[in-house]
């Protein structure tokens, strides 16, 4: 078995256990629901990154701004040289989203805990409710790189192009249009259900094993190549709000080493609400948008 393309972006739970007191490392738990996760117990020394509050703009729908990113890094006592080690609730989806976001703002050394929070608890490793405090740092304003992000017009432009591949990482029920969002997420619903035309459905969880660690590289390669998601193409991943697709973006970019992968974080909650964009829904008659 060959190694992942960029193994340096993954750390094991064993590695993390040995680096809990490493001053060059900042461990961050990225949660969608901190009340159900971080606040009940977390890895000793880990700081909370609340996905809704810290990674997203509080008013408009967007990731945090460059200034907000700088403020977050400074509050967490991070410098450009710090190794950020990310894990989180919901099986590392939101940690992967934070990885993608922090990469947009150019932080160099970011790593994901392989197996995440679930594996840490499975191994009965130490947990605490203590919240760490850090000395505020000065973090220079970065130059944002939007090359790993895709927006709706860009997705529309690649429809039907053989040099691109769209990967819908949602569940088969979401892909088929049987559901657009679970009922408990009313603000993530869409006016239309189905998927973006031409997308292949490879649910995010197919990239991981029973213990939430990533599958070996040869299995990952087979998984994506067999569905036409190959390294010679430009790839766009999407889900409903962009966090599960961050997980797959991470797999394709860092574990398989694909050169051109972008995450469409607008995802189905944008596409399924947009007027005039084409939608593919098995069993439903295809609707061609009326030209403007």
């Amino acid at each position: 078995m060959t190694e992942y393309a960029h193994p340096e972006v993954l750390v094991s739970t064993e590695w993390l256990a040995a680096h809990l007191d490493d001053p060059t490392v900042r461990v961050l738990e990225v949660d969608w629901d901190p009340v159900s996760a971080y606040e009940l117990g977390h890895i000793p020394g880990a700081a909370l990154v609340d996905w809704k509050r810290d990674i997203n703009d509080p008013v408009r729908r967007d990731i945090l701004s460059k200034d907000q990113f700088v403020s977050l890094m400074e509050r967490l006592g991070v410098t450009p040289q710090t190794s950020l080690v990310l894990y989180g609730d919901m099986r590392n989806w939101f940690a992967a989203f934070a990885f993608w976001t922090f990469r947009i703002y150019g932080h160099a050394d970011i790593r994901l805990v392989n197996g995440g929070r679930r594996k840490w608890f499975e191994e009965d490793r130490p947990v605490t409710e203590a919240v760490p405090a850090f000395t505020t740092t000065s973090y220079p304003a970065p130059v944002a790189d939007a090359g790993i992000r895709q927006f709706l017009p860009g997705v529309r432009d690649i429809l039907g192009r053989s040099d691109h591949a769209l990967v819908d990482v949602r569940s088969p029920a979401e892909f088929s249009g049987a559901i657009s969002a679970p009922p408990e997420y009313q603000n993530e619903g869409a006016q239309r259900s189905g998927h973006i035309p031409g997308a292949v459905n490879i649910p995010w969880a197919q990239a991981i094993q029973e213990d939430d660690t990533f599958k070996p590289v040869d299995q990952l390669r087979e998984l994506y190549q067999s569905r036409g998601v190959t390294s010679d193409k430009s790839i766009v991943t999407y889900c409903r709000i962009g966090e599960r697709s961050s997980h797959t973006w991470f797999v394709l970019t860092y574990l398989l080493g694909y050169a051109r992968v972008a995450n469409y974080d607008g995802s189905w909650s944008e596409w399924g609400n947009a007027v005039g964009v084409p939608v593919e829904k098995p069993g439903a008659e295809a609707v061609t948008p009326v030209p403007a």
Partner: protein, 82 residues
Amino acid sequence: MEPSHLDLTTAEEECGDSAMGRVRRAYATLAPGERLEVVTGVAEHLFGIRAWCRRVGGEVLEESREGGCTRLVLRRPAASAS
């Protein structure tokens, strides 16, 4: 009266509520004295359920292993928070 039942072993592919979120929602529907049976095979869930019950005053009446899963029975006491 039979306890309400919540199975956390189902897949999380759809990005629905978190396991603990589901427990909290199900617990919130209990009347004082009613019970909730939760089944999970995930240690993270077990830790979260126990810790959350301690926090809100919920009682863990039973805990048993069945195959690869753990079955917990929680009870909402007369004056607990949710």
